[in-house]
């Protein structure tokens, strides 16, 4: 028998709840008060543009391959200047689990997450976002990266003219 311990264990919780009743609740009253979200919050996906204002997406399908719920689909096309882009790009947000694996897979930083989590609606079809819904007019998290200026394939500028590139080497010159 531990009478003293049991008595204390019976009375103490009452004191704790009484004290809690006089404290201010920690609830954030959502629609009126909004929480400060982390800058890395993962919610709605966007397709960003590079600093020159062109689409970053090169329609490589890596995001749809990485997607665990298969909610990303697209059609790849190549423009005359050698630029690849998506003819159409579709994300089904009714299936999206906001894991962010697509953004990790993206080699051109095109697909990015935003903090906009207020996606709820009554019509599921309205949650199927097409390319024009996804494409934004800014660079997203990274304001410098431009895939075509790093890739050395001579699309945005002739080969060797970008700042991080050196002149292409004519391999036949190196022959003995």
């Amino acid at each position: 028998m531990h009478i003293w311990r049991d008595l204390r264990g019976t009375v103490q919780p009452f004191w704790i709840t009484l004290r809690n009743m006089l404290r201010k609740p920690v609830t954030v009253q959502y629609p009126e008060q909004k929480q400060q979200l982390s800058p890395r919050y993962r919610a709605r996906l966007i397709l960003s543009r590079d600093p020159d204002g062109n689409e970053r997406c090169v329609a490589c399908h890596l995001c749809s391959a990485a997607c665990p719920v298969d909610c990303i689909s697209m059609q790849a096309v190549e423009a005359e200047d050698g630029r690849r882009y998506a003819a159409w790009f579709r994300i089904n947000f009714t299936r999206c689990i906001f894991c962010g694996l697509c953004t990790e897979a993206c080699p051109t930083l095109a697909i990015q997450v935003t903090g906009d989590f207020e996606l709820a609606g009554r019509d599921p079809l309205k949650l199927v976002y097409e390319k024009e819904d996804l494409l934004v007019d800014h660079c997203g998290h990274n304001s410098e990266y431009n895939f075509y200026r790093q890739a050395g394939i001579g699309v945005a500028a002739p080969r060797g003219t970008n700042s991080t590139e050196s002149e292409p080497v004519d391999v036949k010159d190196l022959l003995p």
Binding site: T10, F14, T17, N20, M21, R23, K24, P25, T27
Partner: protein, 330 residues
């Protein structure tokens, strides 16, 4: 107006007022409980419907009424439909014997503020609180579900065990007041309430009615984390609502019984009797909510152990000691 007609009108008015007040009080007790519990857990509780969430009971009622009235496959249909009614009606009927104020002078007539002043009011209360067990037992049995059945079996054994100590806690009160009538018990407490004369009986009664109302720490019949929802697992819509309302009416009844038996009923300085009575009842209900926010649930064997091996001997001893003292005082 002729005299019998006046009497009839007065009785009907009294019934209507009691019915309305009890049901409204039960509905708002749910809201009060949700808000108080929320504050104990550092939340706000319902505060969206109306000012401070005061229309929440109405919203809940609309929700419950528009939900599907679900009947499980191979359930015992009639018992299933009847059980919530038994639960709510027995709770409501119990209030008939509870005196909630001193007799009132109206139109030259003395109107006792009790529906019927039975000379065996205590027995009536005990009988109806036993009958309320049928609601749980039949509801759980008729649902054709393991969880409901387990819940109702637990409820049965728990209520029967704790009714013993509850009854034995009332015995000293009856001995001291020398009456089974609740009105006379209140009258006998005019100078000093029985909580001061017999605190042991008060504690036993309080613990027993906690078990009787199937609330934390004795909510084993509906233990959520073991039995889904216990005896009302299969109930939906307003039938669940009846069980729910019955539980809260029962809470008010038990609070009134504590007030009548131990806290001196309507007696109190300065304020009118009815107000004193309501304050005491609401204080007891508030205490019940506080207990719910503070206590964990007992294990089943602890519950039985406590009921039979602790409460019952103490209450028997209390009856004997009280009897001896009363005998010694003559």
């Amino acid at each position: 107006m002729s005299d019998p007609l006046l009497t009839l009108v007065l009785i009907l008015a009294k019934l209507g007022v009691i019915f309305g007040v009890i049901l409204t009080l039960a509905a708002y007790l749910v809201l009060a409980e949700r808000k108080l519990l929320a504050r104990m857990q550092l939340r706000y509780g319902p505060n969206r419907v109306g000012l401070f969430g005061l229309m929440q009971p109405l919203a809940d009622l609309i929700k419950l009424l528009t939900k599907e009235d679900f009947l499980p496959a191979r359930a015992d249909k009639w018992l299933f439909l009847l059980a919530p009614g038994i639960s709510a009606v027995t709770a409501l009927l119990t209030f008939a014997v509870i005196p909630f104020g001193p007799p009132l002078e109206l139109f030259g007539k003395t109107v006792p503020l009790v529906v019927i002043d039975l000379n065996v009011g205590v027995l009536y209360f005990l009988a109806f609180s036993s009958l309320a067990v049928y609601g749980i037992a039949l509801g759980g049995w008729a649902s054709n579900s393991k969880y409901a059945l387990l819940g109702s079996i637990r409820g049965l054994s728990q209520l029967i065990s704790y009714e013993l100590s509850m009854g034995l806690a009332i015995v000293p009160v009856v001995m001291m007041a020398r009456s089974f009538s609740l009105t006379e018990i209140v009258m006998a407490q005019e100078k000093i309430p029985y909580i001061l004369l017999n605190p042991v009986a008060f504690m036993i009664f309080l613990i027993s009615i906690l078990a009787e109302s199937k609330r934390i720490p004795f909510d084993l019949p509906e233990a959520e984390n073991e039995l889904v929802a216990g005896f009302h697992t299969e109930y939906s819509g307003m039938r669940f609502g009846l069980f729910f309302v019955g539980e809260y009416i029962n809470l008010i009844i038990l609070g009134s019984m504590v007030t009548v038996l131990f806290l001196g009923g309507w007696h109190g300085p300065w304020l009118p009797g009815v107000i004193w009575f309501s304050v005491k009842v609401l204080a007891i209900c508030g205490f019940f909510i506080w207990v719910r926010g503070s206590m964990p649930r007992l294990r089943y064997d602890q519950l039985m152990h406590f009921g039979w091996k602790v409460l019952l001997p103490i209450s028997l001893l209390n009856v004997l000691v009280t009897g001896a003292i009363l005998l010694g005082m003559g």
